[in-house]
Symmetry: C2
Subunit: 308 residues, 2 copies
């Protein structure tokens, strides 16, 4: 368990102490539990923005521009880039991180890649703990950037108070986003690379799809912001829309609802992990062998497993 002074350093934003705590989280160390318990009273203050979209739409460029824009207001910003691990690279890929170098010497900015340890659900379980650590460390804004498009990424983006879905002409257009199921988790859309010829078509497609969604009078209507992030164009509008969404979340009580829903999901996932740890591996193997042979149906097998 990290000593008190280590936790105090992390709370004060010391990047090395923070990095060590986040490594514990990433490794799913048993110490995480004690750390979280210790930090818990100081959490719940940060505003969390999720950013997701298909590969190539410019997530890191938009994130970098957003960091710059929020830094102009003086608050400290943390970026958590969530990547799956590949045995081919031994960890998170470096390409995208390079684009964040603008902020490498800024003390008020903390950037960290989180990689999964190869099991589905691992990141969904550890990301909330990483958020708590950064929250307790006093970062006013935490940006979670997820790499890839799929249900797991959608689940991670949903850990945020505001979810930004990035699209760009050609790559990851509106139809592809619909396929990935990410349209319905979006609070804001960004059509990046808006200087490209097909960008207006992406905006139109998106508008048409949004028009099909049934929303009540009180529901938030996701705005569409066009950006050229490499030239910083549209970023101020994005910030202002994000601020509107934040006000809406607070005014309507929706922030509380979302955080409650998140806690519910987290609890169910942790209960599952705990359960799985308790299942006797030999019994699982034996039952699985019978299912694989077609000698036992999987539902019956699951019941036998739980009846232990």
């Amino acid at each position: 368990m990290p000593g008190r002074s280590e936790l105090d350093k992390a709370r004060a934003g010391d990047p090395r102490a923070l990095a060590r705590l986040l490594s514990l989280v990433e490794d799913e160390s048993p110490q995480v539990r004690t750390v979280i318990n210790e930090l818990l009273p100081e959490t719940g203050r940060a505003r969390i923005v999720g950013l997701t979209g298909a590969p190539g739409v410019g997530k890191s460029t938009v994130t970098s521009a957003l960091v710059g824009a929020f830094r102009a207001f003086g608050g400290r910003v943390a970026v958590l880039a969530v990547d799956p691990t590949s045995p081919f690279t031994g960890g998170a890929l470096l390409g995208d991180r390079i684009r964040m170098q603008d902020h490498a010497v800024d003390d008020g900015v903390f950037i960290r890649s989180m990689a999964s340890r190869g099991h589905l659900g691992g990141l969904a379980a550890s990301t909330p703990q990483a958020i708590r650590v950064l929250d307790a460390a006093g970062f006013g804004l935490i940006i979670i950037e997820t790499v890839g498009v799929g249900q797991a990424e959608v689940a991670i983006a949903s850990l945020a108070d505001s979810v930004v879905v990035l699209l760009a002409p050609g790559m990851g257009d509106a139809i592809q986003a619909a396929k990935a199921g990410i349209l319905e988790v979006a609070d804001l859309f960004v059509v990046n690379k808006a200087d490209k010829p097909d960008a207006q078509q992406v905006v139109r497609d998106l508008r048409n799809m949004l028009a099909l969604a049934s929303r009540t009078e009180e529901d938030w209507k996701p705005p569409i912001v066009s950006t050229v992030a490499v030239r910083n164009e549209g970023i101020q509008e994005l910030v202002s829309r994000l601020n509107q969404h934040w006000s809406w979340l607070n005014d309507t009580g929706e922030l509380k609802n979302r955080r409650l829903a998140r806690a519910r999901e987290e609890l169910a996932a942790l209960a599952f992990a705990a359960l799985r740890g308790r299942l006797a591996a030999s019994r699982l193997d034996e039952l699985a062998a019978r299912v694989a042979e077609g000698a036992l149906d999987p539902f019956q097998a699951a019941e036998e497993l739980l009846s232990q």
Copy 2:
């Protein structure tokens, strides 16, 4: 519960009876359990090929060409296209299905889209049951095509005996595939749109990444096949490589290992679903509220939940 004659019709490959059974599976109907139990003795014979890749690489075109090539040998082929549901479309998107129309009047081909009912893990739980239904119905080859790139899609592709990862120049190139964590589940790589200028670069990148992976002498070395699926180019080579992989799986006993590993995953997932059904919703809500307020740490809350 569908009557015996309904099951017999499905076993005989009647597409309407099959469609009704698969709807039960998709809806996670309680009847599924009885159906699977009934069909179980007739499962385990089909060969299952998974096909995954980023949006736009040409998955449906390759699938359609593969179906045509396997049909030439006379066996019956089923395609399960796994899509997330979007409330914007009310179900699976139709665009890709249109490209499969070549086989619309072929009795030996059955095509079905599966959509999730909005919860992560739903498809991972229902796809194995859909495979069992198609297997018992006598399809010798079942192709699972997953839409999207992410951990959930990787998990679904892993339900197959042979996993084909599709790449194409520009969209979903090798680095993006590495990010999505799909390189390590691939048994075969297809670089589609091989007539495009950058295709050779994709093949080279892939080869370099594969060279980094540590494999023993006995391990399968994933081949890279270049195709232009719209013109049916390279499809015969793909079929022959798939057949080589199938022989390897059978000769080394790896097929049995894989199916055992799959059964293990399925069992753990079903046990989780059963457990979740048993957790009293009110207790979950109450504990989640305390976690959201920062009054209780999530690990403690999960333990209290399980101690019920």
